[in-house]
């Protein structure tokens, strides 16, 4: 009997370890941002369709805002576009687009054809700002609090459910102001 006891214990222990590993494996779409609870990275980028003007993080300071990383080369961005349009219409808080490693003309055409959900679109042509945000695949959407800290990052297409649960829920009660 005892000769089976040790293997059985080892088997159960290993099963436990593997089960925990499988259940908690870092799913790509739930991987936590390293920026959570840290100040939003500094940036100063040209504004799409508005030559000469720039958008910087300091201009957005003092109120919550959302940044959506997208590109016309990104298939999943097309998938979430309808949701973004609905979010844009809600006008609950500024929705900043970060046009990541894209062409200005392609980006403008995209917004003309599909509609523009963004309050403003910053152009990250060479991808430096995206790296500072720890972006590893579009689309990604960040919630930045009035304190200027990153509170949440969603990887993958935005959905109505995620927007309600993880973004709107982070707004102070009673909305802005």
């Amino acid at each position: 009997m005892s000769r089976f006891l040790l293997p059985a214990v080892v088997f159960l222990a290993l099963s436990g370890v593997l089960y925990v590993g499988v259940v908690h494996s870092p799913n790509k779409s739930t991987m936590q941002s390293a920026l959570l609870g840290k100040p939003v990275p500094a940036f100063s980028l040209p504004v799409l369709g508005n030559p000469g003007s720039t958008l910087s993080n300091t201009q957005l300071a003092g109120r919550p805002w959302v940044m959506n990383v997208w590109g016309t080369w990104c298939v999943a961005c097309r998938e979430e576009h309808e949701v973004l349009l609905a979010i844009g219409r809600q006008n609950a808080l500024p929705l900043v687009g970060l046009n990541w490693k894209d062409e200005d003309d392609a980006a403008k055409e995209w917004l003309q054809q599909l509609g523009n959900p963004y309050s403003v679109v910053a152009v990250d042509r060479d991808g430096r700002t995206a790296i500072d945000f720890g972006v590893y695949g579009a689309p990604e959407t960040f919630f930045i609090g009035a304190d200027g800290f990153v509170h949440y990052r969603h990887v993958g297409p935005m959905t109505e459910d995620v927007w309600q649960r993880e973004f709107l829920a982070r707004l102070p009660k009673g909305g802005l102001q």
């Binding site: 991987m31 390293a34 991808g127 430096r128 790296i131 590893y136």
Partner: protein, 151 residues
Amino acid sequence: MRARARAGAFAALGILLLAVSLPSVAFDIEAMPTPALQKRYNGLVHELRCMQCQNQSIADSPVGLAEDLRRDVREQLIAGKTDEQIRESMVARYGNIILFRPPFQAGTAWVWIAPFVFLLFGVFVGVRIVRKRTALVAGDDSDVDKDEPPR
């Protein structure tokens, strides 16, 4: 016959190792300004994970993000940052997962310790089995070797 089988096994192993160690494709057009910087650059890009294709280093990956991260490493090196500072800046943006060799911390200690625990356990089991077998042989009085001539 056995020698030939062994030679075959060695050849197979050799081919396997060759396949594994195929030189990583160099995607970089720009060389670093000095050989010393180039050496540090080569070291760093091989220990940073490409976040889009997670089992490749940024040195081995052709995707745009890996290219951007290599540029970031290059620029930081030229700006005079130490390897440690560069690693820290990567971890600050992407988390520990970007390092193929995670640091020894409270959260990652088990990654480093577990192999030794398993090894100790294996040794323990091995020793137990050998001891048991030895005891069996010592207590064995059925003379199996009776027919064999004394050596």
